[in-house]
């Protein structure tokens, strides 16, 4: 599916969406995503790649540009032993798949990774290992699959489930 990018030091929202670029659109913010820890990341990451991080991934601010930048770069999933709660909610809202994987640290940069979100399974095609992750709750998976909260609301409005006064 995609290549793993492993980050070992703590990853906060200022690294994912750096302050000086916050006044610009997501295109510009994404160009600087994680540059403080890996200047080559934003230019080299490919759609379908997977980001692996340490616990409390995405701690810090409420800026949803942090997960949105990863999604904009085409990151298929973020795997970490735990996420900052605010980052986790934001990721789902912007349609970025995130999975809590206690054993995420067993993955190495460059490993070929395949993610099965519905069953909470991660296959490492490089080593053959299969890692179990906490499955994403169904109501949240629906939202991610819809592309995030905005398209999901759009669908609900179209179906007449939601009134927009």
């Amino acid at each position: 599916m995609g290549k793993a990018w492993v980050f070992e030091s703590s990853i906060d929202t200022d690294m994912l969406a750096p302050g000086p670029y916050m006044k610009f659109g997501i295109d510009e913010i994404a160009r600087h995503c994680l540059e403080a820890v890996d200047p080559g990341f934003a230019s080299q990451v490919q759609p379908g790649d997977v980001v692996i991080g340490p616990r409390n991934f995405g701690l810090g601010s409420s800026r949803e540009q942090a997960p949105a930048a990863l999604r904009h770069l085409g990151v298929a999933a973020v795997l970490a032993p735990s996420f900052s709660g605010l980052f986790y909610r934001n990721a789902i809202n912007v349609g970025q798949l995130v999975l809590e994987c206690p054993e995420a640290a067993s993955i190495r940069t460059g490993d070929d990774i395949e993610v099965d979100a519905t069953n909470g399974l991660v296959r490492n095609n490089t080593t053959g290992a299969v890692i179990g992750c906490a499955p994403v709750p169904p109501h949240l998976l629906t939202m991610i699959n819809a592309g995030g909260l905005l398209p999901w609301l759009e669908q609900r409005i179209a179906r007449g489930e939601l009134q927009t006064r």
Partner: protein, 431 residues
């Protein structure tokens, strides 16, 4: 078994008599606060795409603070969008350029015990100081709230952080907070609800209680709540709210929190956090000799009136060290006016402070104020992540307003008690 305050607040908002931690519930939102950065400029195009309107404009507060005063065209555009949008959306509770959102929200009387509130900013737990359940959300989730008036929540567990004893002179809520960050780490809150309790918490004025609730974010909690009492009631009365009923908003005596941690205020020493995490906190004496270039009293966390008073207590009649810069950005215009009136601001300026606008300023790291490579800064702000306030080689230390002021005088990390008289401090600070 009784219910914690957290459980009572959530149960009321989701229309149940009781709730069980871990359950998924949908809550009605009483109040939604947005600022210029995560607010109108982000939600306006999304609302337009949906053809939707704000569910209840009277439950929305908009405050500009991140990009004010605007220093370039992009920032001007962001703030202009906020001004236009509140007009179209019919939002009357709009505070433009009068201070930092979390402090303005309380000062303008928008918070009261019992509310279930969300804010488009990670330090929204600040509202918890008033016995509200308040937490931060991102812009898209805010859109969901604006359209539906509701939000989903996993009912949080309650983590009680209990402070026994009394703070001694030269110590403050910020030192308590840094000590909690050191002990529990930045994910110790596990995105659950913290309730601050105990004698030392009850002895704090509202603005220092706000510092505790504010930095619940640094503990990784969703909310940071303090039970309302006579101190809360007095603050709210001054903000124009005289009809507040605090009695329903107490935890039951037999409620059992999921986790409980005890701390001792009597023996607490002034703390500072080394770069690049609030969890790198330790008593100042443990850090060794640290030279400092810039001292910064700023942010919702550390530049309220009470914080300015602490800094003034150290700086009155003194000058900052040669080569040192002291930046002071009072959290709100009202706090600045009071500080000016009573001589607090004068003491800071006479000592050599440079006055910054009543806005996020250097704390956000968005605008004109960015610290240069190699600079070592000590700030009264909440977080010191690498690169947040400037170059990634800038070193940001965190301390209380007393500690930041002491560093300004000596040019190095210093225990502020060495520069303070032995007179009691807590009672002088007020608020």
């Amino acid at each position: 078994m009784g219910q914690t305050l957290t459980e009572k607040l959530v149960a009321r908002a989701c229309g149940q008599t009781t709730v069980t931690p871990g359950d998924l519930v949908t809550c009605k939102v009483d109040l939604a606060m947005m600022h210029d950065s995560g607010g109108p400029r982000r939600v306006k195009p999304m609302l337009e795409r949906l053809g939707a309107r704000v569910w209840d404009p009277d439950r929305v507060v908009v405050i500009t603070d991140h990009y004010v005063p605007a220093t370039d065209d992009d920032s001007r555009q962001i703030v202009a969008t906020a001004r236009d949008w509140v007009q179209t959306a019919g939002i009357r509770r709009f505070h433009d350029g009068i201070g930092i959102c979390h402090v303005v929200l309380a000062e303008q009387g928008h918070l009261r015990p019992g509310l279930f509130a969300v804010g488009g900013d990670s330090h929204s737990p600040t509202g918890g100081a008033f016995g509200c359940y308040m937490f931060g959300i991102g812009a898209t989730e805010m859109l969901g709230v604006l359209v539906t008036g509701e939000i989903w929540l996993r009912v949080p567990q309650t983590i009680r952080l209990d402070w026994r004893g009394q703070l001694t002179h030269g110590l403050s809520a910020k030192d308590m907070m840094l000590a909690m960050c050191a002990r529990l780490g930045m994910d110790g809150g596990r995105y659950q609800s913290i309730e601050y309790a105990g004698e030392a918490v009850r002895a704090l004025g509202m603005q220092e209680r706000m510092t505790l609730s504010n930095m619940a974010a640094e503990l990784g909690a969703q909310a940071g709540i303090i039970e309302a009492d006579a101190t809360t009631r007095a603050f709210l009365a001054a903000a124009g709210l005289t009809d507040v009923d605090i009695d329903p908003w107490r935890g039951d005596a037999d409620a059992v929190p999921a986790e409980h941690h005890a701390f001792d205020a009597d023996s607490l020493a002034p703390h500072a956090a080394a770069p690049h995490s609030p969890a790198n906190s330790a008593p100042i004496g443990d850090h060794g000799k640290v030279d400092i270039d810039v001292a910064y009293i700023g942010a919702c966390t550390g530049a309220k009136l009470v914080d300015l008073r602490m800094a003034a207590e150290v700086l009155r009649g003194r000058r900052i060290a040669a080569g040192m810069r002291l930046l002071v950005g009072p959290a709100t215009a009202q706090d600045e006016a009071q500080a000016r009136h009573e001589g607090t601001l004068g003491a800071l300026l006479d000592a050599g402070a440079e006055l910054l606008p009543n806005a996020c300023g250097a704390c956000a790291g968005y605008g004109a104020w960015r610290f240069e490579a190699g600079t070592r800064v000590i700030a009264s702000t909440a977080r010191n992540f690498k690169g947040r306030m400037g170059s990634s080689s800038a070193e940001i230390w965190l301390g209380s307003p007393y500690t930041v002021a002491a560093a300004a005088v000596t040019g190095a990390l210093t225990d502020p008690r060495l520069l303070l008289d032995r007179a009691p401090g807590l009672t002088d600070r007020g608020n």
